[in-house]
Symmetry: C2
């Protein structure tokens, strides 16, 4: 390993990226690659009929997912854009046999198990698999780690939103009589202020976030029943102050078509021999497009995976294991001169 | 290197820390070590008469700086708490011959030269020297790197304050007729808001920060002249909107005795095929004690230096080269389970 990781030279040729799964995330990766001059989109893989998939990038082939393994020598890093529920637990350990891979696995409780599966396969193939990349897990996780490593005596708070929760929106759509729905998770401003004050408050679920739902009811549906089913839904809404608005499909499409999100990670800690000094570290995101921002993080970590593997590293990694210099196309000397 | 850096086990024994230089920063390191159960303060080194230095920690020896080299086998990481102007350029390359070292070298323009000096000595000794650790350079530098690596199309803004600038306070004290002074650097709220709006404004020095000075004049001194000399001082004040308040020494001691600081690093960037989506990443610090927070960062990086060197790494590093997992006393498995 070089004295300074950043000394790693940029690839002599472009980093060849593959996209596995062409939904919101895959399209986000496609657009993010255009902003990074040291990368090129080599191919897109889909489980649909390849000829039915139209890319935004000229001259890039679309193959069926089954053909991926045959492209092992044409792709440096495969970015897996499937879902955490059923796709990634199978796809990441499988794909890392052939490629360095990046995924955005976000089922927090199952991360240790996923890590072990990917690590075993990656060590055998000699590739790197960086899992759970994005903003939470991802950049928020990093800030939780930095916060408690620096301010050992303190408390960490994570708030999400204002933003659209896909899972909660889907849960509403499954209710009988609901045609469409969009749910926003909203942090409670007074809770944020209490945390920023350094008071280290104990906050209940209800005190931290509220939930706002915009629902399109089918003709003749019982809106009172729908609203009640939403507000009493266990895990999803019962523990929150939830408001429900019934609107038309037109209004939903017009005013709630975007996928914004964001949030806050705040570390509040004390220093000094009598713990007399308080410190607040706050990291926040305000995102117009949740999938496009997540994709931008995935692409930066794809660069890291390529460079770390080139230096001989392999196995499963998370954002905790990646030295920041690997994320930037700049050399260590450039980073020290321009950003340090 | 282990598959996951975080897998590094905690030291079988405590990490033995040495403090070189016992001023505000050194005392901050001393108090920070108390909050980290895997570390112990092994010794303090000073250029003053050792018997004249009274520590806050019982049973820790104080030695003259000249004796440091003799302690090579008793200290795992030496934290250098001297100044960037004359101390660190000599001390860091010298001390890294015997110890893993951490410094907070903050003369941005001279970082590349300092890096080369420390790197040469560290490679020869097989030790690690992590330089320019703190919050700027340090945590702010990391956020500048993360911001531009993730949002390749965008602009980065750094604001400092509200906080005490030691350098500017000293500059005022050098003016004839000034008994004492304290200078606050204050970010302009409207500039912060313009940046957060995603407008990517071009901001002049004057538009980003204002400077507020609290001055104690000597008896009979010409306050009008002092105020004019402050406001027209090149580099320090001439390019800023500066306000000067004359107060008594008592009021200065009572209301302006602290050393608070902080600031903001904001990355504003666009994604999407038509760059139609905007994103704001904001990192901010609100610090009651600038030296104690800086010390807390130094101590976390001392843990990283110890563990990285134990894994065989050597040479000069910066915060860009340190995988975040090395900063935490938790194992990789604990980090993935609790923080990812």
């Amino acid at each position: 390993m070089p004295s300074s990781l950043g000394e790693t030279k940029k690839g002599d040729f472009m980093i060849r990226i593959g996209i596995f799964g062409y939904g919101n995330l895959g399209r986000g990766v496609e657009s993010a690659i255009r902003q990074n001059s040291d990368m090129e989109l080599a191919a897109v893989f889909t489980r649909r009929a390849p000829e039915s998939v139209k890319l935004r990038t000229e001259g890039v082939p679309v193959y069926h997912a089954d053909k991926a393994a045959e492209m092992a020598d044409k792709i440096d890093v495969m970015i897996l854009c499937g879902g955490s529920a059923t796709d990634l637990p199978r796809q990441t350990p499988e794909m890392v046999k052939y490629f360095n891979v990046i995924d955005s696995f976000d089922t927090h409780a199952k991360i240790p198990e996923h890590f072990e599966d990917v690590d075993a396969a990656a060590k055998e193939s000699g590739k790197i698999g960086i899992i759970s990349v994005g903003w939470d897990p991802g950049m928020f996780s990093l800030n939780r780690l930095f916060g408690e490593a620096i301010l050992a005596n303190g408390a960490t708070y994570t708030f999400w939103g204002k933003g659209v929760s896909q899972g909660h929106s889907d849960a509403i759509r499954r209710i009988e009589g609901v045609a469409d729905a969009r749910q926003y998770t909203i942090p409670v401003e007074s809770a944020l202020e209490a945390v920023r004050s350094g008071a280290n408050p104990e906050l209940t679920t209800r005190e931290k976030h509220t939930r706002e739902c915009f629902v399109v009811a089918k003709d003749g549906a019982d809106k009172a029943r729908i609203e009640n089913e939403i507000k009493t839904m266990p895990n999803y809404f019962a523990d929150y102050d939830t408001t429900v608005h019934f609107i038309s499909q037109e209004e939903l499409n017009e005013k709630h078509g975007g996928i914004p999100h964001g949030g806050f990670v705040i570390r509040s800690g004390k220093t000094g021999f009598e713990l007399e000094n308080n410190h607040i570290i706050e990291y926040s995101l305000k995102l117009d497009s949740n999938p496009e921002f997540t994709s931008s993080v995935l692409v930066a970590y794809a660069r890291a995976a390529y460079r770390m593997n080139k230096e001989g590293m392999n196995g499963c990694k998370t954002v905790f294991d990646v030295a920041p210099a690997y994320l930037s196309p700049k050399t260590g000397a450039e980073l020290r001169k321009e950003l340090l």
